[in-house]
């Protein structure tokens, strides 16, 4: 069973991925489902037409995909191994994907989470309902190539509890995985999802998941995202969320690993008093590039949205924040807030911040701001004057800046996991 021949690493660039699609199309899950085959073919065609985005595209002005387009990637090996060292669980129930494939062995059978690949026949009309491919080549690629992912369905009123979704990639060879995750909360349902992307080793790999999250009326989802990929990784994720009346999509994004990461969130507040929190923190060390890009669509009246993203940059690193808020004409009494703060620890680091407000309603409260700064020497001196050595004083202030970002996460388990990840990152940096 283990004597599977190792698939070759493809040629570089979009052609390599298309080539892989040609080779895989007869083996991809759901090949017997005409609607899915059609969708995959159309997506591959869309990707062929678009190619990988270049920096000439406005939305990609600050993030260069050269590390992705200039390298070759291969498909993950089958079968899935179970003897992987895994990080300590962040929640009582955990499900695990290895190289983009759901691992039954490593996952808690009691979690209300299923393998997407095993339930594809039920998903006609739903898969791809939120994730559009026309102007999003990475989503097109994911749609063409996804092999698996998770499926979470909560009935009206159901409490899904706290679940960790751990995606592990073995970086001993340059695999590319494109998992697709579908999450749906019925009216009044509740879920805390701690999503973690974790990498083994130092090597190059691509992890490019797509989420489609439907939040029903009065439902509440906490989506704590922790990108802790391996050092050579490229992480490109896209989340689509649609929130019905009085529902809440409460997300927090942490970028701590990977060489190159970009997380895009497309959130649509579709019913009155739906709410979105798109907070985050990027922790970037030497040689890392992190990009947090959000599109927030206020498509109904009386919706609040909150967004605070903090970035700490050390060494030769680059951070990007792009936040677009679109307030439709119908979305009266929108209450939007967006804040982006960056702390530069080195003069070789760079942050690019682009807020964008498009407002078509007239009764709207929308504010945004951005700050970029170094550590406050007045604060450093205050600590030193109390006997705290300079390095420790700086460390305390940076950690304070970071911990302040996660303090707003109201779900205890999610906040604890995030706080631990932040503290761990800073300890490694300060060492």
């Amino acid at each position: 069973m283990n004597a599977v021949s190792e698939p070759a690493v493809t040629e570089a660039g979009a052609a390599g991925f298309l080539h892989r699609f040609e080779g895989l199309r007869a083996r991809l899950p759901g090949r017997g489902l005409p609607w899915l085959v059609e969708r995959r073919e159309a997506a591959a065609e869309s990707f062929r037409a678009q190619g990988f985005p270049s920096r000439r595209v406005e939305a990609w002005k600050y993030t260069d995909l050269a590390p992705l387009t200039q390298a070759g990637f291969g498909e993950p090996l089958t079968p899935v191994e179970s003897a992987l060292p895994l990080p300590r669980p962040a929640a009582p129930r955990r499900v695990v994907l290895v190289d983009g494939r759901f691992s039954q062995d490593l996952s808690d059978p009691d979690a209300p989470v299923r393998s997407l690949a095993r339930h594809l026949p039920e998903l006609e009309g739903r898969l791809g309902a939120l994730a559009r491919v026309e102007d999003l080549p990475l989503v097109a690629l994911n749609t063409a190539l996804f092999e698996d992912g998770v499926l979470i369905d909560l009935a009206p009123g159901e409490d899904g509890g706290v679940i960790e979704l751990l995606s592990v990639t073995r970086a001993d060879r340059p695999v590319a995985s494109h998992p697709r995750h579908l999450i749906r909360l019925g009216a009044g349902a509740k879920l805390v999802l701690i999503e973690r992307s974790w990498g083994h080793g130092e090597g190059r790999y691509l992890h490019s998941p797509v989420f489609e999250v439907e939040v029903g009326e009065d439902a509440h989802v906490t989506h704590a995202r922790m990108q802790q990929e391996g050092k050579g990784a490229i992480h490109l994720s896209t989340v689509f969320a649609e929130v019905a009346a009085r529902g809440t999509y409460d997300s927090f994004l942490l970028h701590a690993g990977a060489k190159l990461s970009r997380s895009e969130a497309h959130v649509r507040l579709a019913g009155p008093r739906a709410a979105a929190h798109l907070n985050g923190a990027q922790l970037l060390g030497d040689g890392q590039h992190g990009d947090c890009t959000t599109f927030l669509d206020h498509a109904a009246p009386d919706c609040p949205s909150r967004q605070t993203v903090k970035t700490v940059l050390a060494g030769r690193s680059r951070g990007v924040f792009q936040g677009k808020i679109h307030v439709h004409q119908v979305a009266q009494r929108t209450d939007g807030y967006q804040m982006n703060q960056a702390l530069l620890l080195s003069d070789q680091a760079e942050i690019d911040s682009k807020p964008q407000l498009e407002i078509y309603a007239d009764d709207v409260k929308c504010s945004h701001g951005a700050t970029v700064g170094e550590l406050d020497e007045e604060q450093v001196f205050y600590l030193r004057s109390r006997g705290i050595p300079a390095a420790q004083a700086r460390s305390m202030l940076i950690e304070a800046f970071l911990q302040e970002a996660v303090e707003g996460v109201t779900e205890e388990a999610a906040r604890a996991a995030l706080a631990e990840a932040v503290a761990g990152w800073w300890e490694r940096m300060a060492a």
Partner: protein
């Protein structure tokens, strides 16, 4: 003993201290009074090691150690404490964490055992009761959202915990109502003893009704222009700094 000889310092090329000579023997409390812009705050910052001041001449030592050659944290570990005129806010740094980190850093520097969280809390609560400080001030961010009086009390709490051998109080009375002033003064008076000295910097005589100094010095134009006993403070209060200028 704190000993300052011929100390001159400038900031951005402008000379502020023009030759300070001052001795504060161990166990004594001295007051420095002076009008705005006389160099009072500069003196306190130069002694505690804040960056941005160019020392152009003279010397300052504490118990024989050359203060000016030491880092701010080394001065603190040697027993020097500056109570800030404007205590700095540290959002995201919990007050309890800050106080314990500072206390343990100094204990470490002195080769003493560090306090664990329980030992520290017990000590901090005891000191806070003495200063009539509500316990929730431990849980808040350092000085964040504190009133002017609370900030000054927090300075005195730090002093009470860190037990310096010499404290420099930089206009600790500014912005305090009379009740807060008494609490702060009680905090300082409680430290009084043969091993504790203080330099109380103030614009007004009011604070010196509660912290009675052994000596009073008048700082004007970057120099000590007059020194005397506690009665000098009252004299200044009555006749103003103009009378000194005339003298």
């Amino acid at each position: 003993m704190l000993k300052i000889e011929g100390l001159t310092a400038e900031i951005d090329g402008k000379e502020i201290l023009k030759g300070i000579d001052l001795e504060v023997p161990t166990g004594e409390i001295h007051a420095i009074m002076g009008p705005n812009g006389s160099g009072k705050s500069t003196l306190s910052y130069v002694l505690s090691g804040r960056e941005g001041y160019e020392i152009t001449g003279g010397a300052a030592s504490f118990e024989g150690q050359d203060l000016l050659a030491m880092e701010p944290e080394e001065r603190a570990a040697a027993g020097l404490f500056l109570a800030f005129q404007y205590p700095v806010e540290l959002p995201g740094v919990g007050n309890a964490n800050f106080l314990r980190t500072a206390l343990n850093a100094q204990r470490r520097a002195k080769g003493e055992a560090e306090l664990d969280a329980m030992q520290f809390l017990k000590l901090a609560r005891e000191r806070m009761r003495a200063l009539s400080m509500p316990e929730d001030m431990l849980k808040r961010g350092v000085n964040v959202g504190f009133s002017g009086g609370e900030k000054k009390r927090n300075e005195v709490l730090q002093m009470a915990l860190l037990k310096p051998r010499i404290a420099i109080l930089d206009e600790t009375d500014s912005g305090l109502d009379i009740d807060a002033l008494k609490i702060v003064a009680d905090g300082v008076n409680a430290m009084r003893g043969p091993d504790f000295s203080a330099l109380v910097i103030t614009h007004y005589q009011r604070l010196l009704d509660y912290i009675v100094p052994d000596r009073v010095h008048v700082l004007m134009g970057g120099r000590i222009v007059q020194s005397g006993g506690p009665e000098l403070a009252q004299q200044l209060e009555a006749s103003g700094y103009g009378s000194v200028r005339a003298a």
